[in-house]
């Protein structure tokens, strides 16, 4: 138990500190609410329709595709830095990886995920 | 290696059954009959070459799953030989007698196929010498019997089939627990995990015998059936089509009693000794209770079912006398019971088919119209009563004698109970065959009397019944060859764990 004790103390302290700060602002801070302050968009005009509404799933698809390919591309970076040390094996792995990615790209393309309408 | 004749006896009907199940109805009957006859010829060949010694003959061994103790080992001794012959014979008779109508629809191939499968399963039960393999065949019997009752039975077939399955499945699952436990507790003494029956004898520790015996007892008591585990039987026998009933009552019910003899007695001698008085009490109660039940049944097929249980009680009484006479008598009586019950059910089936009723009250006076029927029925009924000169006498006599030697009380009780127990058969005989034909007077003559439409036995009925009748007479006068072969096996492989039998084989000779 001994090695974990400092961690436990730290957790307790962190929690206590957060609680303290929140309480202090809550107690000491001045509270003068009015209608404008409580409106969702304090700086602009009053809303016309409720802000929650359905948006086309196309956004979602594009967003997800972006994230997927973005992350795959990001994982190429460390590989390219180490390319010299990895040699031919590394290159082959890179090519395999890109080829599989290409198939995925083709798949997405053929499924029509890139056409907006 | 010589020809594996015992395997052939088991697998000819099993494989033949699967093939037959796919055949159309018209072809299925002759094919099934042919397969049955081949099986009968094979087991007859075994019987012809059978030596009059104890122990297993024609033994076959093949490793199947050694790690599980499951070895494919077969063997036949005096006890199983005649039961196997009986099974093959009854299978042929059951198939032969269903030449006409296959009940409930067009699935004739399935019907004959299942019958062969059932016969093959029963043969497997009788011929194996491995406890696990025995369990396997025990379950192989279950499925075709269930489907035969459920698919081709009478109006209450669904109820009867489910009841049959639940009773037997619970029994056999407990037996499975017993099989597993048997292998486990004997491992220490034997040195390795095995379920080979001859190896296991003397290796079951006394402390474990009680529980293991109970586990096996559950399965055998249900199948035998022993009172109060019998209540599935009247429904199953009544609802099943007659040829199936012949196979169930004649052959399958013997597997329970056979299990007691083959497994419980040699493997758990201490437990059996302790339990014997209780089982004998139950057997006596069963004889009497089922006889009384049989007396009041309006349905004559149900009457025969109760009569069958009642007579099985005598066999169990003989077994649990735990001496050579009792066991000899029990085995002998198992054969005789198979023949007699088979014949009685066949006759009842023929009467029911000809008159379209199973009610004793609706019938009467058949004797004047059906002379052949009356003769056949009379012989079978007298055989069932235990008339000297017919087959059942010797077996019943020996079984009760054994019971006397073991315990005078049970001997006396058993004998006293057996005598009035035959009353119901006379009632059946009188009610159906003699007296006036009742439906003439009942409703002003608008319906024709049931008896009027009845026809007497024809050639194909006789072809089925005459062999059974001939056996009844033959075994009545010359029962000797059977005990001669049963006796050595009883002393060498059944009573091994028991106290030495006081006398061996003196009384047998009187029947020669």
């Amino acid at each position: 138990m001994a090695p974990y004790l400092p961690i436990l103390i730290l957790m307790g302290l962190a929690f206590a500190f957060t609680l303290l700060v929140t309480m202090v602002t809550f107690i000491l801070g001045p509270k003068k609410p009015n209608a404008t302050k409580l409106s969702p968009y304090e700086c602009g005009i009053a809303e016309i329709t409720p802000p929650q509404r359905r948006f086309p799933v196309k956004y979602l698809v594009t967003g997800m595709l972006f994230i997927i390919f973005d992350i795959e591309a990001a994982s190429l970076l460390p590989l390219s830095i180490l390319m010299k040390r990895l040699g031919v094996t590394g290159l082959l792995e890179l090519v395999t990886f890109v080829a599989i990615l290409l198939i995925a790209f083709l798949y997405v393309w053929r499924k029509g995920a890139f056409t907006w309408e | 290696m010589s020809f594996p004749i015992l395997s052939a006896i088991i697998f000819v009907p099993l494989v033949g059954g699967i093939i037959t199940a796919t055949l159309p109805r018209r072809v299925a009957w002759p094919v099934a009959l042919g397969i049955g006859l081949i099986d009968l010829a094979l087991i007859a060949a075994v019987g012809a070459q059978f030596g009059r010694i104890g122990g297993y003959q024609f033994a076959e061994h093949a490793p199947w799953i050694p790690s599980l103790g499951l070895e494919y080992s077969l063997g036949v001794d005096g006890i199983s030989l005649f039961l196997a012959i009986l099974t093959a014979l009854l299978a042929v008779i059951a198939i032969a007698s269903s030449r006409g109508e296959v009940p409930n629809g067009q699935r004739g191939g399935l019907y004959f196929g299942l019958m062969l499968l059932l016969a093959g399963g029963i043969q497997g039960v009788f011929l194996t010498t491995n406890v696990f393999l025995f369990y396997v065949f025990w379950e192989v019997m279950l499925v075709p019997a269930y489907l035969l009752i459920g698919t081709f039975g009478g109006p209450r077939r669904a109820y009867a089939a489910i009841k049959f399955v639940i009773y037997t499945a619970i029994g056999s699952l407990l037996m499975l627990a017993g099989v597993i436990g048997l292998g486990a507790v004997a491992t220490a003494s034997v040195g390795h995990f095995t379920l080979d029956l001859p190896t296991l004898v003397h290796h079951v520790p006394a402390g474990a015998q009680g529980w293991l015996f109970l586990a096996f007892f559950a399965a055998f008591a249900v199948k035998a059936p022993l009172f109060p585990f019998h209540s599935w039987l009247p429904d199953a026998y009544t609802e099943a089509p007659t040829p199936v009933t012949v196979l169930l009552a004649g052959a399958m019910s013997k597997t329970g009693a056979y299990g007691f003899i083959r497994f419980c007695l040699p493997l758990f001698p201490n437990a059996v000794r302790d339990a014997a008085p209780i089982i004998e009490t139950l057997a006596v109660i069963g004889i009497l209770y089922c006889a009384v039940q049989a007396l009041v049944q309006p349905d004559f097929k149900r009457l025969l079912a109760y009569s069958s249980i009642s007579h099985m009680g005598v066999i169990l009484l003989g077994i649990f006398a735990l001496n050579a006479q009792g066991l000899d008598g029990a085995v002998l009586q198992m054969i005789n019971h198979g023949i007699t019950t088979g014949a009685l059910f066949l006759i009842a089936g023929i009467i029911a088919e000809r008159t379209q009723t199973r009610s004793i009250r609706e019938l009467g006076g058949l004797a004047t119209r059906l002379p052949m029927q009356v003769l056949v029925f009379c012989v079978a009924a007298l055989s069932s009563l235990g008339l000297p000169g017919l087959n059942s006498f010797a077996g019943e006599f020996l079984a009760l004698l054994g019971a006397f030697q073991a315990n005078v009380v049970f001997g006396v009780l058993g004998t006293l109970v057996v005598i009035p127990a035959a009353w119901y058969l006379l009632r059946f005989f009188q009610g159906v065959m003699e007296g006036p034909s009742p439906s003439l007077s009942d409703d002003g003559g608008t319906t024709r009397p049931r008896t009027a439409v009845a026809r007497d036995l024809n050639a194909s009925d006789l072809a089925v019944l005459v062999p059974l009748l001939a056996l009844m007479v033959l075994l009545g006068f010359f029962p000797g060859p059977l005990p001669d072969r049963i006796e050595p096996s009883v002393t060498t492989s059944v009573l091994v764990g028991q106290h030495p039998a006081p006398t061996t084989a003196p009384l047998i000779t009187t029947h020669k």
Binding site: M1, T89, I100, I103, L106, Y107, R110 | A21, T22, P63, W64, I65, P66, S67, L68, G69, L70, G105, R107, L110, F132, Y135, V136, F137, W138, E139, V140, L142, V143, Y146, L147, G150, T151, R157, A158, A161, I162, V165, A169, I170, L173, L174, L176, A177, I180, G181, G183, A184, T187, F193
Partner: protein, 508 residues
Amino acid sequence: MLGQTDLWLLSPEIAMTGLALLVVVLDFFVKRKAIISIVSIAGLAVPAACATWIAVTDNRTITGFYGMLRVDNYALFFDFLFILIGAGTVLASYDYVRLYMKNAGEFYALMLFALVGAMLMASTGELITIYIALELTSFPLYVMAGMLRNSVPGDPGSASRSSEAGIKYVLLGAMSSAILLYGMALLYGTTGSTDLGEIARALTSIGKGPDSLVLLLAEVFIFAGFGFKISAVPFHMWAPDIYQGAPTPGTLFFSVASKTAGFAALIRVFVDGGLFSASSFYLWGLIGVAAVLSMTLGNVVAIAQTDIKRMMAYSSIAQAGYILVGFTALAFNPSSASASTNSAMLVFLAVYVISNIGAFAGIIALANATGGERVRDFDGLVRRSPALALGMSLCLLSLAGIPPFAGAISKIFIFITAWQGGGFLPFIVIIALLNSVISLVYYAGVVYRIFVAPPPREDRLRVSPALTAAMTLSVIGILAATVFFQPLLLAGKMGALDLFGFLTLASK
């Protein structure tokens, strides 16, 4: 540096991945979906050949990729099992996919990707790889569950049920993954390694005290995480809904692949990681309770089901319970003497897979012909299609454990080996036996309907060649496993011994 040996050891998985990619690419260009099915099933020969090649090489190295890959006999046993599952699923799904699904290629590609993950799950000795493999198995399954976009004719709610199944599967799957990952993290925290060999070594020196408590927590979480995959009670709630909602070939695939892969990894982690040796009373007590509950709940609830797929879901829960009986024995007595218990579990899984493929092939065949997936749609099947009726009955009887079929022998084998473990195990075995009787009610109930009940219509059902092939494969498989049980047992034993050999090696 990576060498050729590593790639050689990974070759079955590589081949399977290649096949999956090929199916994806083919789907772009090929119009006839039949070709994709044929390629999928024929292509399975390549990973099978690779696995065979590895299996027949004597004195081969077992570990690759710095110990991450462990291609021992245990792994190979499961490789072959998964390839068999793939073949069975393709055959059973051939018509269904063609009739009711728009995207046949994707279905097969996803299935093959899931198989890659499943094969990896059985053949790694490292926690993170196991986790990744598990996710690789699970993700395609989520998609497959929700793949029925247009309702099957005759069952208008089927598409929405399928979507519901997909969402439920994702959410519960994610939760189970989180639990599993938490358990793995705790295990890593206790032992300082993610390598199962290292973990086993570290655990031999672990004493009583707070660490053993953390260890117990880790074991329970890992068991719970895999418990979802094998659908053991109390982690079974997902199974009925998802089995019912998913397209039937998908259900077939979950019921065999997910369960087999879950057990493969579960046994591997607990045995290879030496978790049992360091475990306390609570662990095998808990596993025993899970086993008893799975069997009892699965069997009892299955009786009341009217939908055949829900019934099969509860049946599969019960079957998981039977395997857990063996796992309890393993937990109770974790010496190499339990190798036979372990091999019993492997053999049981193999037989379960074969029987279940056949049973589902029967369900799919009936659904294709009549559109019905209720238990009472099986009424009088013997008159409408005798061959289908016989095959289906055989598979169900094998699942029920009616001798002499392989299902019974393998079940009894588990029970015998468990019984020999002593202690409280005989009681669990007796409960399991009673459960076998209960299970008879619904398995035999279907058989009863097939043979005895009057058919709704007197017609002949047409069963397509592919489904006939799947059913035949399964029936032959059951019969072969019955007759040649001993060789199957030896294969299982080789796999089991490898695990224990590794354990003794690690503890030195």
